[in-house]
């Protein structure tokens, strides 16, 4: 009798059959199983077994439920009588394992069929022993689980009824706790789409691992049409983060509540940009944004895809967009994708927030600087609006505390701004809106004197407005289309008089733009982004005064130096523009851990100017036209080998048209060409703890074709500037950040940087006027409870470079001293260090809230130097002191 063994597990039944076959066919195996040696039925004849039976059809015995539930395993030894035809004639239990196992085994083996045994080469009946093993085997994991929760961004409120759909068509909805669950799922990448009529569709990629449960948390925003009425709907939010599908290489995200509570911002969420890594500390009152060592004018600012000339009002006290209308701001210091261009520096994009479709909200805020109001909400079914306005009253505040004409000595910023928008929801995920914004700044300063040479007067103003229409469509797949045509006007004017020397620079411009941006997932591993970025401007300019006033970067001068009294004048008109198509792909590989994002942008710049050389007698004006097609490749890579670590690389070519005020035939050069540069950056991000992350980014930028003064003794006519300048900046920035948890958030940002310029390829490098070696910012905010928040901020920054004075000589014609300058930018303003504190208390007043806050800057009253100044003979040097301890008290009411 032969002895065979099998198992009850279906997963091993085929294998058992093979073993059986091997046992039957292999004499060695048969020999090895001595106990299973065949027993011939007719022993007297002693026939010879010439062929053992072979199991052809194995039938698995059902595992007895009672035994399975009890977790018992067993083996039943049976004797099977096989006929000469191969059928099972009889089966009896030789070694019982219990009634349940025995019956199951018997029923199974009776259904076996065999290739009959042969004795003396003839089919013959035979009996064999067969051991049937009932083994409880743990199945190897072949599926995974995906579950998670969907909440409202910011408030963390769970969302019920959100449809969660996978790319295999399986879908579910979130329960009352906002949770969803998928099981089982085949391992591999999964595209997850979240949708609800009132939500902005969100599509993301997850990776399901066999035998593992993936617990995901999705924070979503409401679509404006059907936003739920919640107390948190009006929460301010600032998101410095990449778009859903096309992520920038360097990005940081700050929640709304966090941004508002940062000390030193006076509640202006856009001022958070000043605290980000890579951003130099601006001089007090300048309002300039210097990113990664680029000139302030090289960093472009967009509000809802509409370019605006500046982010902050004069003096840097306030941003030009009302805080309550800001939903997100994205600061990309460099290496950005193909959808943007025309700037050699960074990129700042501000997104206005959606209005609540069911309620109306009103806020009012006042402090010593300005007062503002905002309103937003529904108008009618499918219609919403947003409106905000602000006006400074610092001049009035000062008048209340002093009867002196403070404007005699100090420039007092006067500003106002406003934004308005009406939106029509065309569907759950489509809307069209029209809106506009405007901003006005003016500062004036007058110094009276009995000495005509000491009389000074300066007035600067800047006004801009924008009107735009916008169409946005999003589908369930996450594809998104933005179309934004816009129109606007810029008007700026500088008039000054220093003694008898006048200065005037006025600009009136009409700006036109169109942005079309379409993002779509083309394949599960491929996202595409194509669009058109069109901008044009028609500008009329007038400039009069000294060639060196206002000064430009690199000028050998010192603060307060009287302008040259050699003057000239020029009026000119320019028309410039570019219609740049762009395309970008995001390839995902290695289970979404690697993203390769190549892109290209083609900017066909053109410039037409009405005067190529200065006016001369009765000669007719001779204009000039130039064009340049700039092909700008971009590439970024992101590799995240684990959820806690990622590595990024980026490179790109960037082009920038010459500034229109550099194209004067007298003061500049109408034929300046497009400047160009490259950005290189590498970044790592590590999640140290669940709420603590560290990001380090190294960067290098190189630019050429920058406008610089013509160093020749006799420059050619129309060539006061040349496009020979070069620049480079390199450094590393570090961000250690704690997300809001246990009522505490904060970060530490440090940038080590060097930025240099030279006036030609043959010249030596010199330090850039806006170079800051060290920029350190540490801030934290803590909720004390009872509506009380406290925030602190500490900043340290190296002073800007300045040129030393090595002597002076007397100008007898003008009765003043002129400095003799040493090596350009070889000394620095002393370093800056300041500690700021913010304390706020929120009171519930029925349906409204009242927040009282005190934002105290420079609590240690440190005497920071903001600029170097000299006496009239340039023999003594001192510093202009920055802000002393400065409490800004204010209140914000919200309904």
């Amino acid at each position: 009798m032969l002895r065979f063994a099998s198992s009850s597990s279906p997963k091993v039944s085929y294998l058992a059959g093979l073993l059986l076959a091997a046992a039957l066919c292999s004499p060695a195996s048969a020999q090895a199983q001595q106990a299973a040696a065949p027993v011939v039925a007719d022993e007297a004849a002693r026939p010879k077994l010439t062929k053992p039976p072979k199991l052809l059809a194995f039938v698995e015995a059902p595992y007895p439920e009672s035994e399975k539930s009890a977790g018992r395993q067993a083996s039943v030894v049976l004797q099977i009588a096989i006929s000469a035809a191969g059928t099972v004639e009889q089966a009896v239990v030789l070694q019982s394992a219990g009634d349940a196992f025995d019956r199951a085994a018997l029923e199974a083996v009776k259904q076996f069929s065999f290739d009959p045994a042969e004795i003396d080469d003839k089919p013959a009946a035979i009996k064999i022993q067969y051991r049937y093993d009932f083994v409880l085997e743990q199945a190897a994991p072949t599926t995974g689980i995906l579950e998670g929760v969907v909440t409202v961004r910011g408030s963390k409120e769970p969302l019920v009824g959100v449809r969660v759909e996978l790319d295999n068509g399986v879908a579910t909805e979130t329960d009352a706790r906002g949770r969803f669950h998928f099981e089982p799922l085949a391992p591999g990448p999964r595209t997850v789409t979240l949708s609800r009529a009132d939500l902005k569709p969100l599509q993301t990629q997850e990776r399901v691992e066999a035998g593992q449960k993936l617990d995901a948390t999705y924070e979503v925003d409401f679509a404006p049409a059907e936003a739920p009425a919640g107390d948190d709907a009006d929460d301010l939010e600032i998101v410095i983060v990449a778009p859903t599908l096309t992520k920038q290489v360097v990005s940081t995200k700050v929640e709304a509540d966090q941004a508002r509570r940062v000390a030193g911002t006076q509640g202006d969420v856009l001022k958070i940009v000043e605290n980000m890594p890579g951003v130099a500390r601006a001089s007090a009152g300048s309002g300039q944004v210097v990113v990664w060592g680029a000139s302030p004018e090289d960093t472009r600012v967009y509000v809802d895809d509409v370019r605006v000339p500046l982010l902050y009002h004069f003096g840097g006290l306030r941003s030009v967009v009302h805080t309550d209308l800001v939903r997100a701001v994205e600061l990309i210091p460099g290496g950005y994708g193909a959808s943007y261009g025309r700037g050699l520096g960074g990129l700042i994009t501000v997104t206005t927030r959606d209005s609540d479709a069911k309620r109306r909200h009103v806020t009012a805020q006042v402090d010593v600087l300005d007062a503002s109001v905002s309103g937003s909400g529904h108008i009618a079914e499918g219609w919403t609006f947003a409106l905000a306005g602000r006006r400074s009253h610092l001049d009035t505040t000062l008048a209340a505390v002093t009867d002196r004409d403070v404007g005699e000595y100090f420039p007092i910023p006067r500003y106002y701004d406003g934004q308005a928008r009406v939106r029509r929801q065309l569907g759950p995920k489509r809307y069209v809106e029209v809106g506009g914004l405007l901003s006005s700044d003016r500062v004036a300063r007058t110094v009276a004197s009995s000495d005509p040479a000491e009389r000074k007067q300066e007035t600067r103003s800047l006004y801009f407005d924008r009107v735009y229409a916008r169409y946005v469509s999003t589908d369930n797949e996450g594809s998104e289309l933005h179309v934004t045509p816009w129109f606007g006007r810029d008007r700026s004017k500088l008039t000054a008089r220093f003694g008898g020397t006048p200065t005037e620079l006025s600009l009136r411009s009409r700006q036109y733009g169109l942005r079309i941006d379409y993002v779509s997932r083309l394949l599960p591993y491929l996202t595409g982004n194509v669009g058109l970025d069109l901008e044009g401007a028609s500008t009329t300019l007038h400039r009069a005064g000294s060639l060196s006033t206002p000064p430009r970067e690199g000028d050998a001068r010192v603060f307060g130096q009287p302008p040259s009294d050699q003057i000239n004048g020029s009026s000119w008109k320019t028309i410039n523009g570019s219609a740049a198509p762009f395309a970008q792909l995001d390839f995902a590989a290695l289970h979404e851990t690697l993203h390769v994002v190549p892109g290209v942008r083609v900017d066909p710049f053109f410039v037409a100017i009405d005067r190529r050389i200065p006016e001369e007698g009765n000669l007719p004006a001779s204009g000039a036209y130039s064009s340049d097609v700039a092909v700008q490749p971009r590439l970024s890579l992101r590799y995240a080998p684990s959820p806690r670590a990622s590595f990024k690389l980026a490179w790109g070519r960037y082009y920038q048209a010459p500034q229109v005020d550099d194209q004067s035939p007298v003061f500049g050069n109408p034929l300046l060409t497009v400047a160009h540069g490259s950005h290189y950056l590498a970044s790592t991000q590590v999640t140290v703890l669940p709420k603590l992350s560290a990001e380090t980014t190294a960067f290098y930028s190189r630019s050429r074709g920058l406008a610089v003064r013509n160093p020749a003794l006799s420059p050619l006519v129309g060539q006061a500037l040349l496009g020979n300048g070069e620049g480079r900046a390199y450094g590393v920035q570090f961000l250690l950040r704690r997300e809001l948890s246990d009522k505490l958030f904060g970060w530490v940002a440090y940038t080590l940087m060097r930025s240099e310029r030279r006036d030609s390829a043959a010249a030596a490098w010199r330090i850039f006027d806006f170079d800051q070696t060290h920029v350190f910012t540490a801030l934290a905010s803590y909720e004390l409870g009872w509506g009380v928040d406290v925030g602190v901020r500490f900043r340290y920054a190296t002073g800007y470079p300045r040129t030393p004075i090595v002597g002076a000589y007397y100008d007898a014609r003008r009765n003043l001293y002129e400095p003799v300058l040493g090596t350009k930018n070889s000394i620095r303003i002393p370093e800056f260090a300041q500690l700021d504190v913010r304390l706020s208390k929120t009171l519930e007043l029925g349906p409204s809230k009242l927040e009282l806050y005190a934002d105290v800057q420079n609590v240690t009253d440190r005497e920071n130097a903001e600029e170097l100044v000299y006496d009239q003979k340039y023999s003594q040097r001192r510093s202009i002191r920055g802000l002393p301890i400065l409490p800004v008290l204010g209140a914000r009411w919200e309904l």
């Binding site: 000062l398 000495d451 040259s564």
Partner: protein, 347 residues
């Protein structure tokens, strides 16, 4: 005037509302002459044609009892690049500058000088001479009065001063009719002069006689200059616009201008027209003791028609002894002259 002094009391208040930063106060006083110092440089005449002559003169203030060092004069021949903001190419300031950069003129308080023939091309409105294979360069920008200047350098020990002689050039870049009109109306500058200086409410000061003043007192001084005619009128004593020997021999037989705020014309390149103007006048005040309330006073071009007088207060100082004050009058076209008065500061 030290304007910064007025800012200090307001500084804290303004900073408290975040208006601006605070400007430090300096104790410098340009009116105080503590050692030999060059206070003025002029050409006489103050304006000349290319190739013309002018006597370069220096006012060296020497406090009582100190010796006057020599002044070394040099004519700067190097054009100033656009990247330098001052009135002169800084190569001309270097001691031992080569002769093709700084032409030595000699030593003394006055030296004769002849303007280069190409002064209007090097420092004026005419384009520089073409170099081989290259087009002409850019003309020099005029000053606020439409003038161009030949710079010269004066060294007094280690002190370096720059003076200038206005160059009488034809217009560059103007239409022919404007050039003709300019040439017909423009008259070279005349150095201004202080007509009178007197104690406020008291007697005139005399350069030769001297005066006395009490230590610790304050002395208000007034000065005046010639009141120039508002309109050209033959017989007014000044050969002005549209007058020449053929039309007004009385004024132009021996051409001379007015020693006050003269009327003149300049070419406004933006308007493409010749426009009439009037000089501004300033008076710089210097003292070997004490200090003046304001370092410089005067009238701007806009005010010049209404005023030919100025005043200042001299805080004499508490120490008795000899004292000297110097008054330098300047017009906006580069003309200068001066007066010196000696005092005996009594206890």
């Amino acid at each position: 005037m030290n304007v910064q002094r007025k800012k200090a009391p307001l500084c804290s208040l303004l900073l408290a509302v975040g208006v601006s930063a605070c400007v430090p106060d300096f104790d410098d006083d340009l009116s105080r002459v503590a050692g030999p110092q060059l206070l003025a440089l002029r050409g006489s005449p103050p304006e000349a044609k290319p190739g013309g002559d002018s006597i370069l003169q220096a006012l060296v203030a020497v406090p009582d009892g100190q010796a006057a060092p020599k002044v070394k004069f040099g004519l700067c021949l190097a054009r100033k690049p656009l990247t330098q903001l001052g009135p002169v190419n800084q190569d001309c300031l270097a001691e031992g500058a080569p002769e093709d950069v700084l032409l030595s003129l000699g030593e003394g308080t006055e030296v004769p000088a002849r303007l280069p023939e190409d002064a209007c091309r090097s420092f004026g409105p005419l384009q520089p001479a073409e170099e081989a294979g290259k087009p002409s360069g850019r003309p020099v920008d005029p000053d606020v009065t439409g003038g161009f200047y030949q710079p010269f350098v004066a060294r007094l020990g280690k002190q370096v001063s720059v003076g200038s002689v206005r160059i009488d050039c034809d217009l560059g870049g103007a239409a022919r009719e404007e050039s003709v009109a300019f040439r017909r109306q423009y008259r070279s500058n005349e150095n201004p002069s202080l007509a009178r200086v007197w104690r406020s409410g008291g007697e005139d000061l005399d350069e030769a006689a001297g005066a006395s003043v009490k230590a610790g007192s304050s002395l208000t001084l007034e000065a005046t200059w010639e009141s120039c005619p508002v309109e050209s009128r033959c017989g007014d004593g000044a050969c002005t616009a549209n007058e020449d020997p053929s039309t007004c021999a009385a004024d132009c037989a021996t051409p001379h201008g007015c020693t006050g705020a003269e009327r003149y014309v300049s070419y406004d390149a933006e308007k493409g027209a010749v426009v009439g103007r009037r000089e501004g006048i300033t008076v710089a005040w210097f003292a070997s003791r004490g200090h003046f309330q304001t370092e410089q006073t005067g009238s701007s071009e806009e005010e010049a028609a209404d005023s030919s007088r100025t005043r200042n207060t001299w805080s004499v100082g508490s120490e008795p002894g000899p004292a000297t004050i110097w008054l330098v009058i300047r017009d906006t076209r580069g003309g200068q002259s001066w007066k010196t008065f000696h005092f005996d500061v009594t206890p």
